[in-house]
Symmetry: C2
Subunit: 349 residues, 2 copies
């Protein structure tokens, strides 16, 4: 029997944010793929598309007309998953049928009037305006009594269920703290209660020391492939300072956050020279009025592509029933992402 | 403000098996879909495909030749995620980099030599032979010292990452109990310790009483849309008797299990008159040699389709970062599935 080598041998890794394990199978990276492939659209998009319901001045499905906006534009989602309506509910006590009304607000944020752009192709100063808007929205929504959590996220690319290439993200703000956030918060809290320190501050220190999974580092943020990443090129942006939420950013932090988003998403696009699909979102303090000294601002990127613009990782069967599984190791992914340019492939030569 | 109505108002439901909540948005079922659509292959497949690496007598990628099998055929996966190799490991104690070698065995189970079949198109007696094989494999693999969990599952359809339409499933047997199974087991155990009864036995009783989410019921099993289902047409088969694992089936139970699998998957195919994709798998006692009085045999079906053979539900953005979300209610899905015929659409008239 040979000595364990994490580059060769199947193994499990522990995710302290979710308190669960994942399975890593480095030896499996070479299996042939004969399954479903994704369309990778490399058409050049126009700056304005008369058919796009997110473009400036166009009419949406519900008959409302967008203003002639420039830059960022926010509106209430026409088909929200949540409604801002208070309903009367008398708690029912049946054992297995536990149900509660949920109240909330869904918004759409257009990142730019330019239909053809995506975050990596925007200028840092324009990404800063998106960050401004995230701050405003977090504040405005979060300050309402019945909103205890504000989830800011982006689905990018058809393969991530995004139905419109116009650069945009979403906000789902609601009364309850969602399941995955509750789990993260519990684990942050256990650590904080035990040590008096932030789990992610300590983790980031170790990662910077190890320097095996760090992709980008600037004044205030680092981007890395977490030791326990499940998606092939999953990453996390972590603030160096222990910041609870986006309202606590200094001007410098805002600028460096915009900068690292641009650099990271540019590397993503450069990886397969395609507009790289992902779901990304921010985890930060709930807006429930409590102090939450355990929280540490971070942003997750979950991109599905595995080997090329056409072949994604399927989280199915074993993964749904048993546990997340990956082939390429986080260290290999980090190495690849680290070595990619921060100059976008479309703007080269 | 109006009174809460679970058919109209957004709400959350509690899943006692995973101890988490899901978001239900009944009002959103009507939103238009302009996003990615799936190819639905309705080509007629041959009984034997010379290019298929699972067909009788064909050569696989690694050069091995399948025997001229009839019925069920099992072999070790040529590109397993686990290896049956013991490696030397000295526990390392670094805080955030917790890693353990994982040993195991991956197998492929062809359900039939007939390339063109799927479970709903097979005869009950032939599905029984698949169940026989699951029993044998669970016993053979589970009795090995280093195997503490045997995950039996099937990925069906391209959209579920299945690369070959030849009817087949998989087994991943390994040293550790996977994350989702550990969570299920913990919740089954808490309930058992508190009440002395099986959570799923009590739950099934309540579901049979309520009769709102039951799709099929026979002598020994029921199939239902769980109150907390996340996928649009997610279902669960639960044994009426508290059975820990598949080896405890009586002859009758084996037959009725095969029967309910056939009926349920036939309804699935009839829903959109397409070969209905899903990931399905069995949850049962780990093979760690412990008693596990808390366990209750069940099988999950996680199908992705939402509105048609072409439009699936995307579990992205909010769902990845925050919590699972569904549009159509479990009661609506159950009603639709319940009313579908158990005669396969292809065999009609
Ligand atoms: O083993 P297969 O069928 O090649 O692969 C499929 O099922 C596996 C188990 O659910 C997944 O890990 C893969 O991502 C999926 O493509
Ligand atoms: O709101 P959209 O972009 O129409 O929809 C997309 O994102 C939502 C939030 O992650 C998901 O619930 C949907 O399944 C997905 O298709």
């Amino acid at each position: 029997s040979s000595a364990f080598d994490s580059k060769q041998h199947p193994h499990r890794r522990y995710n302290p944010l979710l308190d669960e394990w994942i399975l890593v199978s480095p030896q499996r990276a070479k299996r042939p793929w004969q399954g479903q492939t994704e369309k990778s659209l490399e058409e050049k998009l126009p700056h304005y598309d008369p058919e796009c319901y997110l473009c400036s001045g166009n009419v949406r499905v519900n008959g409302q007309r967008n203003p002639d906006y420039k830059g960022v534009y926010v509106f209430d989602n026409d088909f929200g998953s949540l409604l801002n309506e208070q309903v009367e509910f008398s708690e029912d006590h049946s054992d297995f049928f536990t149900i509660r009304p949920e109240r909330g607000i869904n918004r759409v944020i257009c990142f730019s009037e330019n239909h053809s752009l995506t975050l990596p192709e925007m200028e840092v100063k324009d990404i800063e305006k998106v960050v401004d808007t995230w701050q405003q929205q977090y504040e405005e929504l979060g300050s309402q009594d019945f909103i205890n959590h504000v989830q800011i996220f982006e689905n990018k690319g058809q393969v991530m269920g995004c139905s419109n290439p116009h650069p945009h993200g979403q906000i789902w703000a609601q009364s309850s703290i969602p399941s995955a956030v509750v789990r993260t918060q519990e684990n942050l809290r256990f650590y904080f209660e035990k040590t008096g320190r932030s789990l992610l501050e300590d983790y980031l220190k170790k990662e910077l020391e190890a320097d095996e999974r760090i992709i980008l580092e600037n004044e205030n943020f680092a981007a890395l492939v977490p030791f326990w990443a499940v998606w092939p090129y999953e990453t996390m942006i972590i603030s160096k300072r222990k910041i609870g939420n986006i309202l606590q950013f200094s001007e410098g932090e805002k600028r460096w956050f915009a900068e690292i988003i641009k650099d990271l998403t540019t590397k993503y696009d450069n990886l397969f020279e395609t507009s790289f699909p992902y779901s990304a979102g921010i985890h930060q303090t709930p807006t429930d009025g409590l102090a939450h000294p355990e929280w540490h601002f971070h942003m997750h990127f979950y991109p599905p592509l595995l080997r090329s613009a056409e072949v994604k990782k399927f989280m199915v069967g074993y993964e749904m029933l048993a546990e997340a599984q990956r082939d390429i190791t986080p260290e290999q992914s980090a190495e690849i992402l680290k070595n990619l340019s921060t100059v976008h492939y479309k703007s080269r030569n």
